[in-house]
């Protein structure tokens, strides 16, 4: 081997070495999560993921976090509890992610709580309900605006009581989330001195709701609290429309999942009128914060292509907000240390596109921002109407309120 060649190799070697040092300095920050992309929760999961992806693109356009690009590592958990333990083990042990986001919904999240706690990882929750109440992980922060466990039912039942309601019917899906909500509804009803005159859980595979609505009708309630899942919510409203729930009903709805999704609302059309239901974000004047409008402009463009909910009010902005909170915490502390970040998240109020967020001890929002809103003046077969204000008037909580309850239910339906 002649000398020139040796020098040539040496130079090449040094150059290679320098290059690898340069790239070793700037590996991306990896954020790991599983997300339901198939199975029953896929509709919500895909919309939520799009919200998070928009945040990732925004932050990377701004130069990333701590000068590093942000990269998402996402696996499909098939909406199932039995898939997530292995997936989060992979994220932690093989992918060695820097930060963890939880999957959308309670069922896939519940199994990973002990693992995450044991590993001392910060976990940003994604719309699960009370998964931390038994595990007590002090580095858990839920992005959902539920707040205290009973706030959900409190909003709806208080509205009903103010409208003169004395008796309550509770109709719930016999599934995890709806049952938890129904339990809180029973407690709140007791607290408010409302008499529960009907309390039934319908099986998840129910095809037809006429019979059960007939039974609700027979109990003659003033307030009808419904905790249901996407396919059933539509079926229940149809049956309510056909069978009727009686003239004495002041208010109907509460916790019907599904009526937040664009495709469902478009399909239901005028059947929605009068229903009072929970939501997390609505295009009402009180709901716009810094960056909210820009987010939805990006979202509506990308949703078409991604074949997800074209409106995306329910989950997507909260996915984005989850990213914003991490962004704020990392930038403020200049650190990726889990404890440091958790301390920052716990002690500060965070500015996001869904409004300011402050956390309580248990990692839920200190103050509930779960909206109860009434559908009004909805026409058939029109998606775009839901983009304008006034179609879903916010009744609760007071600080975000944009209108008053129209009651009784039969009157409200014709408005």
């Amino acid at each position: 081997m002649n000398r020139r060649r040796v020098i040539g190799w040496a130079v090449a070697g040094i150059a290679l070495g320098l290059m690898s040092v340069a790239s070793a300095e700037e590996p991306p920050i990896k954020i790991g999560m599983s997300m339901p992309q198939t199975g029953g929760l896929a509709g919500g999961g895909k919309a939520s993921l799009l919200g998070i992806e928009i945040w990732r693109d925004d932050i990377n356009a701004k130069g990333g976090l701590l000068g590093r690009k942000v990269e998402l590592v996402v696996y499909d958990d098939k909406s199932s509890a039995s898939e997530t333990p292995a997936l989060y083990a992979k994220l932690l042990d093989v992918d060695k992610v820097d930060l963890l986001f939880a999957p959308y919904a309670t069922v896939p999240t519940a199994p990973i709580m002990p693992l995450v706690k044991q590993r001392g990882m910060l976990l940003m929750g994604n719309f699960s309900f009370q998964v931390n109440s038994k595990v007590h992980h002090d580095m858990w922060f839920n992005n959902a605006p539920w707040g205290p466990a009973d706030s959900w039912a409190t909003g709806f039942l208080t509205l009903g009581q103010k409208a003169g309601g004395k008796t309550v019917a509770i109709l719930s899906a016999d599934q995890e989330f709806a049952q938890n909500i129904a339990t809180t509804a029973r407690d709140v009803a007791k607290k408010l001195n409302l008499q529960v005159v009907f309390d039934q859980a319908y099986p998840p595979s129910t095809a037809e709701f006429s019979s059960i609505i007939r039974a609700v009708n027979a109990a003659k309630p003033d307030i009808v609290f419904v905790a249901s899942y996407p396919p059933d919510s539509a079926g229940i409203l149809r049956a309510v429309n056909e069978i009727g729930v009686g003239d004495n009903v002041k208010i109907l709805g509460g916790a019907m999942v599904g009526l937040q999704f664009g495709a469902v609302m478009e399909n239901m059309g005028s059947l929605l009128n009068g229903v009072v239901n929970f939501n997390t974000w609505l295009p009402e004047p009180s709901m716009y914060f810094d960056g909210t409008k820009a987010f939805f402009e990006k979202y509506s463009k990308r949703a078409v292509q991604a074949k997800v909910d074209p409106l995306g009010y329910y989950l997507a902005p909260y996915g984005y907000a989850m990213g914003q909170m991490i962004e704020e915490a990392v930038n403020a502390t200049k650190s990726l240390d889990q404890k440091t970040l958790a301390k920052y998240l716990r002690e500060n109020t965070h500015k996001t596109i869904v409004g300011p967020i402050t956390f309580a001890e248990d990692g839920e929002w200190k103050e509930s921002a779960t909206l109860e809103a009434q559908f009004r003046g909805v026409k058939d077969k029109n998606m775009d109407q839901f983009r304008s204000a006034g179609k879903q008037v916010i009744l609760f909580p007071d600080r975000l309120k944009t209108g008053d309850l129209i009651t009784p239910f039969e009157d409200a339906r014709n408005k």
């Binding site: 292995a86 069922v107 998964v131």
Partner: protein, 317 residues
């Protein structure tokens, strides 16, 4: 002991030794999480084959037995904080009773009627659990793991080893059945139940026995899942996917020899685990669908059917 038995038990011990060594040497926990699922499916598929393969009674209610295993464990943890070994043993007992029940209830049913009855039973049991508040009901239940016992340094590693023990147990029992008079009786029953009965095979007793053993093993294989997931809800525990996956694994591997369901479970289980962390979308389900169709069309006797006569039914190994 026969030579084949010596080979078998040497293999089994070697397998357990490797598994044990893994739990002591590997620090990365992911292989144990993923491996546990695959071993679990090996147990389920092998156990399913006793009834579905040897006897020809296609059990669609694998999810019922699995869920019963999970909820037996949940119940014992809730009520008595029972240790893992007790959970599994109790699940096996409950599973065998359920198997006996299924067998008695379906005494006069053949073929597809039996399969439909097992579907119906699964739904009835799932509904019962859904309405049972003590074990969480529809709302599901979060479970706390007790501290792990030596020599393991993590609970998942221990579960992985326990599931490996169950694999050896299930395979040993299945192998014993296949090589004994029971296996030949079941085989006769499968080919022609009436003829078997006429030639003096105690078809009824054999069928009940197959139901009991298969049920006990499936429930036992499901029991550790409660502690693995640390959460149970009826939707996940009684998921139809268990029935379909186990059926698919057994048929893809081949049901005439105990090695078939092992091959099927390892192949399909690994593929599923691999796809979940690579493609990770609905394509995952598509691959399962295409694999099912291609295998049952192209390899009617499963993988073992492709490898000569040595694994055909009746052959000893």
């Amino acid at each position: 002991m026969q030579r084949s038995s010596i080979v078998f038990w040497t293999g089994a011990l070697l397998f357990l030794a490797v598994v044990f060594a893994m739990t002591q040497l590997l620090r990365n926990e992911y292989p144990f999480f993923a491996g546990y699922v695959i071993l679990q499916f090996v147990v389920l598929s092998v156990a399913w084959t006793i009834l579905g393969g040897y006897a020809g009674y296609v059990n669609f209610g694998t999810n019922a037995f699995f869920g019963v295993g999970v909820y037996t464990a949940v119940l014992l943890v809730q009520a008595y904080k029972a240790p893992l070994g007790v959970q599994i043993a109790a699940a096996a007992v409950v599973g065998s009773l359920l198997g006996l029940g299924v067998g008695l209830l379906t005494l006069r049913m053949r073929g597809i009627f039996f399969s439909i009855a097992t579907i119906a039973l699964a739904i009835v049991i799932e509904t019962t659990v859904t309405n049972w508040r003590f074990v969480g009901g529809a709302a599901g239940i979060q479970l706390q793991r007790p501290p792990v016992t030596a020599p393991f340094d993590s609970y998942v590693k221990m579960l992985f080893f326990v599931q490996a023990l169950l694999v050896v147990l299930a395979v040993a029992i299945t192998r014993f059945i296949q090589n004994s008079r029971i296996g030949r009786g079941l085989h006769a029953l499968r080919d022609d139940e009436l003829a078997a009965e006429c030639t003096g095979v105690p078809t009824l007793r054999l069928k009940l026995l197959a139901c009991v053993i298969s049920g006990a093993l499936i429930s036992a294989g499901g029991a550790p899942a409660a502690m693995y997931v640390q959460y149970a809800n009826p939707d996940s525990a009684f998921n139809l996917n268990y029935s379909v996956s186990v059926l698919a694994m057994s048929l893809i591997g081949g049901t005439s020899h105990w090695i078939g369901p092992i091959l099927g479970a390892v192949l399909l289980g690994t593929t599923q685990q691999f796809l979940t962390v690579t493609i990770s979308s609905e394509i995952n389900v598509l691959v399962l669908g295409v694999m099912l169709v291609v295998f049952v069309v192209a390899a009617p006797k499963g993988i073992i059917g492709l490898f000569g006569k040595s694994f055909r039914s009746g052959g000893r190994a």
